[in-house]
């Protein structure tokens, strides 16, 4: 799958409290969560984000709480991909489980700026900075995780695995 969008770039240790503050966690509505996404770190984000846009960040993106509301809010804003140097482990699992594409690629992070346009072939992990013309290759996921992604998330993966067993 090919995605393409404009970049919102952030630094190290973007935590789940700034991605979606706890004061909004009294709902499970993805649309409502999305309307407050990144509010405490970048109040302009929600006004400017468009379907397909890409978040690029440095180390340890998504650290802190286990709230799945964080990747859900990002996905529901229309963000098509998050690229970071590294992800906090629960955010990493949650993103895969709910089907938010994420990639670890420090070379790309270093060479992408806010406002650049980036495209990516998610299957191949090839990231292209359309603004500068440079391309980068992200580390592929282990095959087991690729299966979860291909099946459309963990719950569907389990359902399909059970079906194959019977």
């Amino acid at each position: 799958m090919e995605v393409k969008g404009r970049v919102f770039k952030y630094g190290n240790d973007v935590d789940t409290d700034v991605i979606i503050p706890a004061r909004y966690l009294n709902t499970t509505s993805e649309k409502e969560l999305a309307s407050h996404c990144m509010e405490d770190i970048d109040p302009g984000f929600i006004k400017n984000v468009k379907a397909g846009d890409v978040i690029v960040a440095e180390d340890n993106f998504g650290c802190g709480s286990s709230r799945e509301h964080a990747p859900l809010a990002i996905k529901a804003c229309g963000v098509s991909l998050v690229i970071a140097n590294s992800f906090a482990r629960i955010f990493y699992r949650n993103s895969i489980n709910i089907g938010l594409p994420i990639l670890e690629c420090p070379e790309a992070v270093a060479a992408i700026s806010s406002g650049d346009t980036v495209s990516c072939d998610l299957g191949k992990g090839v990231i292209k900075n359309e603004t500068t013309g440079k391309t980068f290759k992200a580390e592929p996921f282990p095959p087991f995780i690729q299966e979860i992604i291909a099946d459309g998330g963990l719950i569907k993966h389990i359902a399909l695995s059970n079906k194959n067993k019977t």
């Binding site: 709480s65 286990s66 859900l72 719950i155 389990i158």
Partner: protein, 419 residues
């Protein structure tokens, strides 16, 4: 192949003789946990999957602790959804207002988790139970839903970082100072994806409550889990509570670690994490003059009986400074009752502190102690991120109960020996 404590527990639950770091395994769970924030998302996923019955109603715990007692109508709806699901599925371990406590204090106290267990919880501080020699880790709501459906979870076997503790902590130094010191040393991603395993002759000088505090904040260093070896103190704690037989796993002598650190407990000083990351630690000689507006003593990190005793030691015969609000939240009903029986609550109230029923409330900026623009709080909780306890310009200083109580008395960030 030598294994770490964490790896041995994972291998046993995956039905494997051995596992190695990086290996992907599927393992059987002893308990899955969620609260009133993560539970509703998990229940939604569970229902969406078409599943009708949970795999094992005895191995699921739902604790209404975050926005409970219900802080608003929407939160009331979230708790109701969990309550209805618990009734429909016949969950044995649904804890509602009146019985609930903060989940990571409650489950060990009730004996629902113990040595050798494999536990996942849709709450990042699920890593707390490593204090009992369990492998426990935080996951998201979808993992929780899958755990309810299948009783299993997939794991990538972690490598480990070894911390050898030596000596005995000095006066007014406790588990919170140790874990803040450790996070300050290795950083908020210093143990990313890894186990933090604690060893050494210093372990015996740490109470169970200290060990819970240390493992609780392993996630603040990015770790998958934190774990202590089981000793006489662990067994004594579990005796009469833990419903199953403890399974004791020791690390092999020649097991490999990515890194090893030695920490001299006698050299630790009262340590505080300044805004806005738990790694921004400073010892008491480096604090400077920080005026404060609020103090919170409680949470899954420091709301246990020894934490309340520590706070009461400072508050006894003293008063909260003018202009400061002190909020004390016993972590469980049992802790609350014990604090009443020991006279701690009387000490708090006479000192001018507010005492609340158990809740996570202020820790995550939910309720019962939200900060206004520019306000500062010294808190025994676990995170000091931007906006964590309220307004985006407010500040949280993470500290031990001794430091928090001393700061409440002076009105500025203070070491316990200053009062």
């Amino acid at each position: 192949m030598p294994m770490t404590m964490s790896q041995k527990i994972l291998a046993a639950h995956a039905g494997l003789k051995e596992v190695k770091a990086g290996q992907l395994i599927n393992a059987k769970l002893d308990l899955v946990l969620a609260n009133d924030i993560t539970g509703p998302v998990a229940i939604k996923e569970f229902k969406k999957s078409g599943a009708e019955k949970v795999a094992d109603a005895g191995k699921i715990a739902l604790v209404m602790d975050h926005f409970a007692p219900n802080k608003d109508i929407k939160s009331a709806g979230q708790c109701k959804l969990c309550r209805d699901f618990a009734a429909e599925q016949g969950l044995e371990n649904f804890f509602d207002v009146g019985e609930m406590g903060i989940e990571h204090a409650l489950l060990p106290e009730k004996g629902l988790v113990g040595a050798g267990d494999l536990v996942i919880g849709a709450d990042s501080h699920t890593c707390t139970y490593g204090a009992l020699g369990a492998f426990s880790t935080g996951v998201g709501s979808t993992d929780m839903a899958a755990g309810m459906m299948t009783g299993e979870c997939w794991f990538k076997v972690p490598s480990a970082v070894k911390f050898v503790l030596r000596g005995k902590p000095g006066k007014y130094v406790c588990g919170k100072d140790l874990i803040l010191h450790t996070i300050g040393m290795i950083g908020v991603d210093g143990a990313l994806y890894k186990s933090m395993e604690f060893f050494g002759d210093g372990v015996k000088h740490l109470s169970m409550d200290d060990r819970f505090t240390v493992c609780n904040m392993a996630i603040e260093a990015g770790a998958k889990n934190g774990i202590f070896p089981v000793d006489a103190l662990t067994l004594e704690y579990m005796n009469g509570r833990f419903g199953r037989s403890p399974r004791i796993y020791m690390a092999d002598d020649d097991s490999e670690y990515d890194e090893e650190y030695e920490i001299d407990l006698s050299a630790l000083r009262p340590t505080v994490a300044f805004p806005h990351l738990p790694e921004n630690t400073k010892t008491s000689d480096e604090w400077g003059d920080i005026e404060i507006d609020q103090v919170v003593i409680g949470s899954c990190t420091n709301g246990r009986i020894s934490d309340l005793r520590a706070a009461a030691k400072i508050f006894k015969g003293r008063h909260v400074a003018k202009g400061v609000r002190a909020i004390i939240i016993p972590a469980t009903q049992q802790t609350y009752l014990q604090a009443i029986e020991e006279g701690l609550i009387e000490t708090f109230i006479k000192a001018g502190a507010a005492v609340s029923t158990p809740t996570c409330g202020p820790c995550l900026g939910g309720h019962t102690g939200i900060l206004a623009e520019g306000e500062r709080c010294v808190s025994t909780t676990n995170r000091n991120f931007v906006g964590r306890m309220g307004h985006v310009t407010s500040e949280v200083y993470l500290a031990s109960p001794y430091v928090a109580a001393a700061s409440a008395v002076t009105g500025r960030l203070s070491a316990p020996d200053e009062v």
